[in-house]
Amino acid sequence: MRYAMAVDTLKCVGCSDCVVACQTENNVPIGFCRDWVVEVTDGTYPRLEIEIRSERCNHCENSPCVRCCPTGASHYAEGGVVLVTPHKCIGCGACIASCPYDARYPHPDGYVDKCTFCLHNRVEKGLDPACVSVCPTKCMYFGDLDDPNSPVSKVLKNRKYKTLIPEAGTNPQLYFLL
């Protein structure tokens, strides 16, 4: 099992619903976020292009954050999902410094928090992650890459895509459809 997510940059309108939905679903405190939306505009008026990406932890297959965690709080869970165990985390910040995507943040309660792919609260119960299930443009796909029939496998088979900073060698599992 390898969980992955794909976001369609051509359909995403940057509304940030995925961000609020994550906040209310996962009790992310006001002022913090596990996901965010990047808008890149290129060109000169009126020859312009926009790419919009809803970003979050990439659940890297080769994740520096897990590697550098001194306590094992950061770990790979089921399906390769990278999780943090709050009561093992000492809040040293090593994983934060190690993440090329700035995907983690220090939770006000002391431990480090980040996107969980909604593994325990939704995915294990057969639901899509909160951000995926709310997106008004239905531009996000989630599922198991080992299952060729999962929405994410299917869309990756049919579309061009990229990952972020592949040269960092992290092997991200968050794909952006182009």
């Binding site: 051509l10 359909k11 309108v13 940057g14 509304c15 940030s16 619903d17 961000v19 609020v20 939905a21 906040q23 209310t24 679903e25 006001i30 002022g31 976020c33 505009t41 060109g43 000169t44 008026y45 009126p46 312009l48 292009e49 926009i50 919009i52 939704r122 119960k125 057969g126 639901l127 299930s133 709310v134 997106c135 008004p136 443009t137 239905k138 531009c139």
Partner: protein, 751 residues
């Protein structure tokens, strides 16, 4: 400005404490007994209770579920899968609606304006006292001037309750900014053409369209949920999107064609498209022959409007005009010329919307799949009450003779009619304002303030301390939509449907639902006969039983879709279509317009251009905010806590402006913005315009998150171009320049 009623920063006496609850407040708690019927649902989230609602953060009114945790705290709101407005998915504002409930800056108790030590302040009052006060003043005014001199300005669900109360009292002067500041010109444009309006949600079949033309309509930023969802699906299925917008909107970036039109020239483009369709015989001949009148006059009329002619005006390449017209033809009749929604732009907006309607008719799109469908809504009986007294004066008489084709009450008309003149027998003496922040919603603030100045009573019902509450004599704190019942949502859609809003939690602080406020006020005015129900549940249950369901069932379902009465979602091609116009046909040549002395075929007129050193003030929506109402919502300010000023890099270079720099703005009439705004240098805006999101720059210090953040576009809209046809306030003819040196007084002053 010297004023009888000065703006009070509500902080004067503090609104923190909860006033001694009057005897009446006990009644209110009964109103949430519906909680008892909430169930533990059989879903993966078993530990959560859910209750149905429909969203009040904007007027798309998506139906959804409010989830609470074990301790009864609202946790999240998600869409109802059965709802046609949202298909189970809320937009960011709806998802962030929890923030409106938790906002600790909310209005907490009724407030009454008093003078202590020569200084005007608000004092906290009990509901009993506040409503007694209002009833007393209303009766005084009615005795002196007549009840019809009281007007209701409202936007949102509370309107029906207060409207009901006011009609019983003897006034029909009820208005909303959603007409003359919003969709009025389009409703009138389509009404005069097709004999029917567009409605909300719009009757456009984006789901099945093959080509959609967006004229200004900035879907994706304008987050009207069903439309955004269906547009995304349409793109997936390969539909062609053509966006006409001087700004590179999000929708433009998703479109096959973006036409970066020169602002204020759309009518020329539309006329030229009509020209191309007709000259090339690309229109739906059978449809036009069968259903329309005035085609020959139209053909003659548009003959001069060649693409080359339009190019000179719009700067759109003639080849692109032809090519996009061909795209429309190829998709016909599954084409939508999106009628937009906020269309009060330049004062000739009804004419522009007429051109849109004509284009749609030529393409045979009205009544066709993928074009404009025939919506249906339930005939939901109202709880029986005695007939309302006939008011001595209709609101239209208040602005006598003007705006003959307005099919709703013109808010700015009532506003004007409040300012006394020698001729007018009765100007409005009292306003009840519910759920609309008039100082953000209606342009030309000076005029609105002049009207407010002339009032004997201003009652403001709101959830938040905003600009307008500062001018009120009495402020009534409504609870949020998550804490109350309202009327059933009975919407026009593909399927007739009902949605229920019920309280998920008890009202916070000493706030009350509009229905309760209206009913209690009615009681004090001796109008009990019009509110015969014990509580709103009884009234809703009665209504629902007429439709074969019940309050109990709706509390479980939230939304119920009903089968259509008529199988006419699209025209039956074998039957004669009848239109509700004077001729019974689609009027390309409008007899209504002609009869009222307006051009029966749309005419392009040039609009004013920015003077040297000034830039056209363009404004719009951000997907995560609604007007000025969400600017203090903690969840949504987390996403965006101020508006920024989009400036083209060329302009920025000329003025030496940098991204992040604060500037103030001054318009052509010398009106300066209260606060400063952050510059965003971006290619997405033209060099002749600047752009900002509407709804920021709040000046009520009680809004701890929103105060002093960004600029309120409305205060810079002093030059208003009134549409003579229906009274719409054209707001896009204002020009601003930059002030780079100023005393900081907004958010940046705190630092």
């Amino acid at each position: 400005m010297s004023s009888r009623r000065s703006f009070i920063k509500i902080s004067a006496l503090g609104i923190g404490g909860i006033a001694a609850a009057g005897g009446l407040s006990r009644l209110a708690t009964g109103a949430v007994s519906g909680n008892a019927s909430t169930e533990k649902i059989d879903s993966p989230e078993q530990n959560l209770h859910r209750t149905p609602t429909y969203c009040e953060i904007c007027f798309w009114q998506c139906a959804g579920w409010v989830y609470k945790d074990e301790s009864g705290n609202i946790k999240k709101i998600v869409g109802n899968d059965d709802d046609q407005h949202c298909n189970g998915r809320f937009c960011p504002r709806g998802t962030g609606g929890v923030g409106q409930y938790y906002d600790e800056d909310r209005l907490k108790t009724p407030l009454i304006r008093t003078t202590t030590d020569g200084k005007e302040t608000f004092r906290e009052a009990s509901w009993d006292e506040a409503l007694d006060y209002i009833a007393h003043r209303m009766q005084e005014i009615a005795a002196k001037h007549g009840p019809e001199c009281i007007a209701l300005f409202t936007h949102g669900s509370g309107g029906s309750h207060f409207g009901h109360m006011l009609k019983a009292f003897g006034s029909a002067s009820i208005t909303a900014p959603s007409f003359a500041q919003c969709r009025g010109p389009r409703e009138v444009g389509f009404l005069t053409t097709f004999g029917d309006i567009i409605y909300s949600p719009e009757r456009i079949d984006i789901r099945d369209t093959r080509c959609m033309v967006l004229i200004g309509s900035h879907l994706g930023e304008n987050m009207h949920n069903g439309q955004v969802q269906e547009m995304s699906d349409a793109i997936d299925r390969g539909a062609t999107i053509i966006t006409v917008d001087p700004r590179f909107s999000t929708a433009a970036s998703k479109s096959k064609y973006w036409l970066p039109i020169k602002p204020a020239t759309d009518l020329a483009l539309l006329l030229s498209w009509i020209h191309v369709l007709i000259e090339n015989e690309w229109y739906d001949k059978a449809y036009v022959a069968k259903n329309t009148v005035g085609f020959e006059q139209l053909r003659e009329h548009v003959r001069p409007f060649t693409p080359e002619w339009a190019y000179g005006i719009t700067t759109i390449d003639p080849n692109v005009i032809v090519e996009t017209a061909r795209e429309m033809r190829n998709a016909s009749p599954s084409v939508i010329i999106n009628p937009g929604r906020h269309v009060t732009w330049y004062g000739d907006d009804t004419q522009r919307m007429r051109a849109v309607a004509i284009l749609a008719a030529l393409l045979g799109a009205w009544g066709r799949r993928g074009g404009y469908y025939q919506p249906e809504k339930l005939h939901l009986p109202s709880y029986p009450v005695p007939p309302f007294p006939v008011p001595r004066r209709q609101p239209t008489e208040a602005y006598g003779g003007k705006y003959p084709l307005a099919n709703e009450v013109v808010s700015n008309g009532l506003c004007d009619a409040t300012i006394p003149t020698v001729e007018r027998s009765c100007s409005y003496k009292a306003w009840i304002v519910n759920g609309t922040n008039l100082l953000a919603a209606i342009p030309n603030q000076a005029n609105t303030l002049k009207a407010i100045e002339a009032l004997e009573l201003l009652v403001v019902v709101d959830t938040m301390p905003v600009e307008l509450t500062g001018y009120a004599d009495v402020v009534l704190p409504e609870c949020t939509y998550l804490e109350r019942y309202d009327m059933l949502r009975n919407s026009n859609h593909r399927l007739p449907n009902l949605a229920l809003r019920m309280p998920a939690v008890q009202p916070k602080y000493d706030s009350k639902p509009a229905e309760w406020i209206a009913r209690e006020l009615a009681a004090k005015l001796g109008l009990e006969a019009w509110f015969p129900w014990k509580n709103i549940e009884e009234m809703l249950d009665w209504q629902l039983k007429q439709m074969g369901t019940s309050l109990e069932e709706m509390q479980r379902l939230g939304v119920k879709n009903f089968p259509r009465e008529n199988d006419d979602l699209y025209f039956n091609e074998n039957e004669e279509a009848v239109f509700n116009t004077n001729s019974g046909k689609i009027e390309l040549y409008s007899s209504d317009m002609e009869n009222e002395g307006f051009a029966p075929l749309p005419v392009y007129t040039a609009h004013e251009e920015p003077p040297e050193g000034y830039y056209r003030l363009n404004y719009g929506r951000a997907p995560m905010h609604t007007f000025s109402r969400t600017a203090n919502n903690p969840n949504l300010t987390d996403l965006m806590d101020e508006n920024v000023l989009w400036v083209n890099p060329k302009v920025a270079r000329l003025w030496g402006l940098k991204t992040g720099q604060m500037v103030k703005l001054k318009n052509q009439d010398g009106k300066q913005s209260t606060f400063a705004i952050k510059v965003r240098v971006t290619e997405r805006i033209r060099w002749d315009s600047v752009y900002m999101v509407h709804g920021f720059g709040h000046n009520n210090p009680k809004l701890t998150r929103a105060f002093g953040r960004g600029v309120n576009d409305t205060e810079l809209i002093t030059r208003v171009h009134i549409d003579p046809v229906m009274g719409g306030t054209g707001m896009r003819g204002n020009f601003v320049t930059f002030i780079t040196e100023f005393e900081p007084n907004g958010k940046e002053a705190e630092a």
